[in-house]
């Protein structure tokens, strides 16, 4: 088997005495869409933050395409091809929608910290950003400050920013949280479309979204993964039903 896109082994995190992540081993293959589910407080977002170096783990390793990520800064991890969105919308609210996307393209198009290029002059940047806007259906909102968009549009913009850099591993933290049904469908289609051929890791509460999108699912309870597998396997797993899914599925219906 080829190197997994993302591999976690023995990952642990404690805040003081509280052990939030208690040893996680997980391997996610290339082009796999993987969902992490679990009850509130299970440590899903913490897990995300550990992978992307928002927090430093207490123990264990994170490997991206076989390369160790521990000790790297977020921007270094991003340059290696891992990009993420946040549970709470995290965009540049005062800049226009177009600018938001263009900023996300700068590094990947090799502009780095240059001060001898003018961004307006670059057709690659302009067209690249236009293409992303087209993909996330925000072309008409192009020149509005991002902070004035509706919630669903801001979430779509954040997904746009996340994928713009061309990272091949995309992590989405609750992309549909707080959305209405139609908005959720819209975002689900969008995720489906923009992550074509990429590795996707997402935390999600909405079971409809999870079972619709994911190739494999991991269930995280109290900082441990109690089951990993194809959606139908996980759904049938008695441990999972006991811990989480039963209650959640009942609530769904």
């Amino acid at each position: 088997m080829s190197t997994p896109a993302l591999e976690l082994s023995g990952l642990k995190k404690s805040f003081g005495k509280a052990e939030i992540i208690r040893g996680i081993d997980l391997s996610i293959g290339k082009s796999e869409r993987h969902a992490v589910i679990g009850p509130n407080g299970a440590g899903k977002s913490t897990l995300f933050n550990l992978i992307t170096a928002r927090f430093q783990p207490t123990a264990g390793t994170v490997k991206l395409h076989g390369e160790d990520l521990i000790g790297l800064e977020p921007y270094q991890i991003n340059r290696k091809g891992l990009s993420r969105s946040f549970q709470i919308t995290n965009i540049f609210p005062k800049m226009t929608v177009f600018e938001n996307v263009r900023c996300a393209l700068l590094w990947s198009q090799g502009y780095r910290y240059s001060f001898w290029n003018l961004v307006n002059r670059s057709r690659d940047l302009t067209e690249g950003a236009e293409a992303i806007l087209e993909q996330i259906n925000l072309t008409e909102r192009r020149n509005l400050p991002a902070g004035t968009l509706s919630y669903a549009e801001q979430r779509a913009l954040e997904i746009g920013i996340t994928i713009a850099g061309g990272a091949d591993v995309i992590m989405l933290d609750e992309p549909t949280a707080g959305m209405s049904h139609s908005e959720t469908d819209y975002i689900t289609d969008l995720i489906m479309k923009v992550t074509e051929g990429k590795t996707l890791i997402m935390v999600e509460h909405d079971m409809g979204v999870v079972f619709g999108l994911a190739d494999r699912i991991s269930v995280l309870v109290y900082g441990e993964i109690i089951a990993t597998g194809k959606p139908e396997e996980v759904r049938g797993d008695p441990k999972v039903q006991e811990a989480y899914l039963g209650a959640a599925l009942e609530a769904e219906h």
């Binding site: 609210p93 800049m95 700068l106 910290y113 307006n120």
Partner: protein, 431 residues
Amino acid sequence: MTDQITTDPTKPSERMRAGSMTLTLGPWIVAAVLLAVLPFIFTNNSSITIMNQMWITVIFALAYNMLLGQGGMLSFGHAVYAGVGGFACMHIMNASDFFAALPLPVLPVFGGLFGMGLAMIVGSFSTRSAGTVFAMISLGVGELIAACSVIIVAFFGGEEGVSGDRTYARPFFGTEFLQQIEVYYLISAWVLIAAALMYLWSRTPVGRMANAVRDNPERAEFLGYSARWVRFYSFVASGFFAGIAGGLFAINYEILTEENLNTTSSGVILLVTFLGGVGFFFGPIIGAIAFTLLQTVLSLQTELWAFYAGTLFVATVMFFPGGLAGLMMMHVPVFKLGKARLLIWPYLKTLLPALIGILGLSALVEMVFHVRHAAYGDDEMTLFWTTFNSHDILPWVIALGVTAIALGITRANVPALRDAWNEANTAGGSA
């Protein structure tokens, strides 16, 4: 919108749409013409002195806004970068052999390089974070270097500062810069160059990312940019242009002292920039012009000019956080809707009494000041072309009465103004 990709770059109109030609030359040409023509309108020497000071402040304020407005970094010690650049230029002026070979207009570049060098040293540790930490370090470093002015006498010249003579430079196309007007054009050329470069900077990848880091450093990090390095580059560039301003100061005044480094100067530039408005590129330009006028013209009229400047600053922070530029740009939608006419009368009704009220208040302030501080027996004072006895009761009654009535009228008219404003900002309806 799919035709975006297939736009024909040879047609200017479509090039605009593709976003590759959005740099407009118009404002720059207007600025260049204005700079060239102004000395023919304001011919006397004192006006030219004021304008020289103004343009130097413009460069400094724009440099400062690279940090405050564009990078979200509040510096309390930015005068040191201009100051060190200026001191370096004074020493070059005094290095007779080297200076004799150097055309004077090139000198500010050295100021810039020294400002930049210092900014690189300080920036290497101060830009690690923005916010309070950055502000405190900038204040500390500012104080430290200002204190050095009496310690490192060789460079800062102690209490009397360093002075020199700009005319020893190599003549520049026959010009020796003996006259104020020649210096004026030197400074004007530099203000254009520096402002254009700073504008272009804001359009480069690192300039755009400065805005991104200001708005959301964490997100910027997850886009592949180190917030710290982005801040560092902004800081260094700002130090460079501040140093240019310092170099021009050296050329204009031919003396630099501790005053060019201290926190008062750093505070003034913060005030100037904020007054003009940090949100727009041209804000600091307006701020520098307004503040220099206030400082030079008002200080001839009253000893209390700093009190008024402070009041204006507080009022700006509280009521118009966008500064003068923000206030101007607020009216753009109204003009776009073609409803500016609706505002004229309500503005007159509110602002005229407000102006009278403010003048009345300042009259009261001046009278209190006169009563408390004039020499014993000197009861006569002149205010608004009227001479009266400040110990009489009548002038007080008049001043108080006028102020109270004017402010009362202002207050009464504010709701009407607010309605008119809302009306003017609403699309549709009869204009």
